[in-house]
């Protein structure tokens, strides 16, 4: 099935990434991480490229990719805010904070603000359970989060 998919720039670049990591033992997750890092998601053409390099079925790569919450099929916002919804944060008012966050950002979980600046995702534990509630903006961690923190972070990213 040589078609337009194999001629796309995405396919070419994903092939390069996959080939560069194919020597690892169990290379699929590292490749998916690297592809998502490059494109902000794992596009269909990249799945085809990875499958070809690893000699796997497309269904197998797709099946693995969709099992894991971290991998996206469509790009998210420029930045991602993960808000912890687990028990330690619940004990410190995490549920009410989540409602406030949705109200402040005007989006629900798994959604992106209209300007594409911020995606809101739930996370089940950031290991910041003694300074709950906790959140992470990309890799930047925040403890004892309040609605004001959410507002400040949203303003900071222009959401």
């Amino acid at each position: 099935m040589t078609d337009e998919h194999e001629e796309s720039e995405t396919h070419r670049r994903a092939t390069e990434i996959a080939a560069g990591l194919a020597h690892l033992e169990g290379p699929l997750l590292p490749i998916l991480h690297a592809v998502q890092h490059e494109f902000g998601c794992v596009p269909e053409d990249a799945i085809r490229a990875i499958a070809k390099v690893l000699n796997l079925g497309r269904a197998e790569v797709h099946g693995t990719m969709t099992f894991y919450p971290d991998y996206r099929q469509e790009p998210g916002g420029a930045r991602t805010l993960k808000l912890c919804r687990a028990e330690a944060c619940q004990s410190m008012g995490g549920d009410a904070l989540a409602d406030e966050a949705r109200r402040i950002l005007g989006i629900d979980f798994h959604e992106t603000t209209a300007d594409g600046a911020l995606t809101l995702e739930p996370v089940y534990c950031l290991g910041l359970c003694a300074c709950a509630p906790a959140a992470m903006l990309d890799h930047e961690v925040h403890g004892r989060v309040t609605p004001e923190t959410i507002g400040r972070l949203a303003t900071g990213v222009g959401a």
Binding site: E25, G26, L29, L126, C129, C131, V141
Partner: protein, 517 residues
């Protein structure tokens, strides 16, 4: 030159440690002060983070919690000579929360620069590995068995027995896999040791490799821990450059290589067989056992799979001898356990102690109760699959068997405190919800039962024939417990049933008096 310590631990960063460093550097430049800032791990007193320490003639002195705005005032008060300040706590190790602990696994955490191999060795690092190199593999395994160390990830399986099985299984290739997929809410010990003393985990894994004749190790870290990943990558590069990893471990003629692998947000991959599938590049679906991973693990090869804390406890066991470790603890729970005090907690953080302290001592004396100041209603021990204990069970000692006897589990030793505003029925519902979100889908009771559980709890909430719903939940929990391959489906009944058993009055509304006609 004065040495000032500001932690790089994620909890300290989450509370503003980087801004404190910037403020210190700025003020030092303006005032012409000669100071060296060391980014250490956390001492574990999270309510005091960012905890700034200064090295004085009288030892290290603590100040916290410090914000960037506090820095000029602190310097005015003589921070660099341990001067008095409202946020000062005197010698760090004399702070009661710290002084009451027995730090074996976390001995260096918060003390050293976690990325300095020199610091690591100066504080007793590599002593265990050197001892192991001089021993026969079977003797290393015996030492770990004799120490009484049991899996700190939650299952509590004797580590030495697991290692022996792998040693006795011959194969062309064997693996050591470190389970660093610490997804349980209320736990952060793995994260803290990986960020605060990564070399100790590396050392533990190399010892494990020598003991079972494995030559390759993987650390599977959850993606939610970017700072731990960074610290491990850096420490592994240093260890490789200094011959601790590679073809000839410290001149022993034996090889061991180590790689960090990053998870992708699936809680169930903390289950050992899911984790192995994930490492192999597959969906993180649970495998049936047998075969045990010790016989057929990663890529079908004999594999030691241990939690971070289990592996990080091995160096001190080899360095000080199994008898010294084994002396701590009670019953069949030997040694120390890093307990994580979390949630609505006044003095929260990491507290390493010998097994045997009661839950009440921990919650009331060590933590000082809740942050909100309200009465403690419940504590969940062992993460999302652990039971909620009411005050009536606070005499339970921290011991695997004692918790099991009360239908609970220690798990990874996270203790999450809830005050009297907690809605216990919601907590039971969440246990089912979480299971529904995270189920890998292999076992029907877990995949479908969890969703039915959410619906049934909703009916209880609506007051719809409550006794019948409770009976259904009990039956469902029985099915999930015995009909699931792994702890996700099998243990979700613990939090649910603990709410039904210990907080019954919240589940079944008090009978209304029939109005007189």
């Amino acid at each position: 030159m004065t040495r000032v310590y500001v932690p790089r631990d994620a909890a300290a960063l989450a509370l503003g440690a980087d801004a404190v460093v910037v403020a210190l550097e700025t003020e030092a430049a303006v005032r012409g002060l000669d100071l060296e800032i060391v980014r250490n791990g956390s001492r574990g007193m999270i309510w005091l983070e960012p905890l700034v320490e200064v090295e004085t003639d009288a030892g290290r002195v603590a100040y916290g919690p410090i914000t960037a705005d506090d820095v000029p005032g602190l310097l005015d008060a003589g921070l660099l000579t341990g001067g008095e300040h409202a946020l000062g706590h005197g010698p760090t190790e004399a702070i009661p929360f710290f002084a009451r602990q027995t730090r074996l696994t976390f001995a260096r955490c918060g003390v050293t620069d976690p990325l300095s191999l020199e610091d690591y060795e100066a504080h007793g690092g590599l002593k265990g590995l050197r001892a192991a190199i001089a021993m026969a593999p079977a003797d290393v395994v015996q030492a770990v068995t004799d120490s009484g160390l049991r899996g700190r990830g939650g299952a509590g399986f004797p580590t030495g027995i697991k290692w022996r099985t792998v040693l006795e299984t011959s194969a062309d290739r064997k693996y050591i896999v470190c389970n660093a997929d610490e997804g349980d809410s209320g736990t952060f010990a793995d994260r803290m040791i990986m960020e605060g003393d990564p070399f100790v985990l590396i050392e533990g894994m190399v010892i494990s490799g020598l003991a079972v004749e494995a030559t390759k190790g993987f650390i599977y870290v959850r993606s939610e821990y970017p700072h731990a990943i960074e610290a491990l990558e850096s420490a592994i590069a240093t260890a490789s450059a200094h011959g601790i990893l590679g073809p000839d471990v410290l001149g022993s003629g034996r090889a061991f290589d180590l790689e960090v692998r990053v998870g992708a947000g699936a809680y169930v991959c903390g289950e050992e067989t899911s984790l192995l599938n994930s490492l192999e590049g597959k969906r993180g679906i649970v495998r049936s056992k047998p075969p045990l991973p010790a016989h057929e693990g990663l890529f079908g090869k004999p594999t030691v799979i241990n939690n971070v804390i289990s592996l990080a406890s091995v160096p001190v066991i080899l360095a000080e001898g199994p008898a010294a470790y084994q002396e701590y603890g009670v019953g069949r729970s030997r040694g120390t356990i890093p307990i994580q005090l979390a949630g609505n907690v006044k003095h929260g953080g990491l507290f390493e102690a010998a097994f045997g302290m009661t839950l009440g001592e921990l919650v009331d004396d060590v933590c000082g109760g809740t942050l909100s100041g309200r009465p403690v209603k419940a504590v969940q021990v062992g993460g999302p699959l652990g039971a909620y204990f009411p005050r009536a069970l606070f005499d339970t000692p921290f011991d695997y068997e004692a918790f099991a006897a009360k239908d609970g589990l220690i798990g990874h030793a996270g203790v999450t405190i809830f005050d009297d505003t907690a809605d216990m029925l919601s907590q039971a519902r969440f246990a089912f919800e979480f299971c529904a979100v995270e189920s890998c889908g292999k076992c029907t009771p877990c995949r479908i039962g969890s969703t039915r559980g959410v619906e049934t709890i909703e009916k209880i909430r609506q007051g719809e024939d409550v006794p019948a719903q409770i009976e259904l939940i009990e039956d469902l929990c029985e099915t999930m417990k015995y009909g699931s391959l792994c702890a996700l489906g099998g243990f979700t009944p613990y939090p649910v049933m603990s709410v039904l058993n210990h907080f019954r009055d919240e589940v079944v509304p008090a009978p209304q008096e029939t109005p007189a006609r």
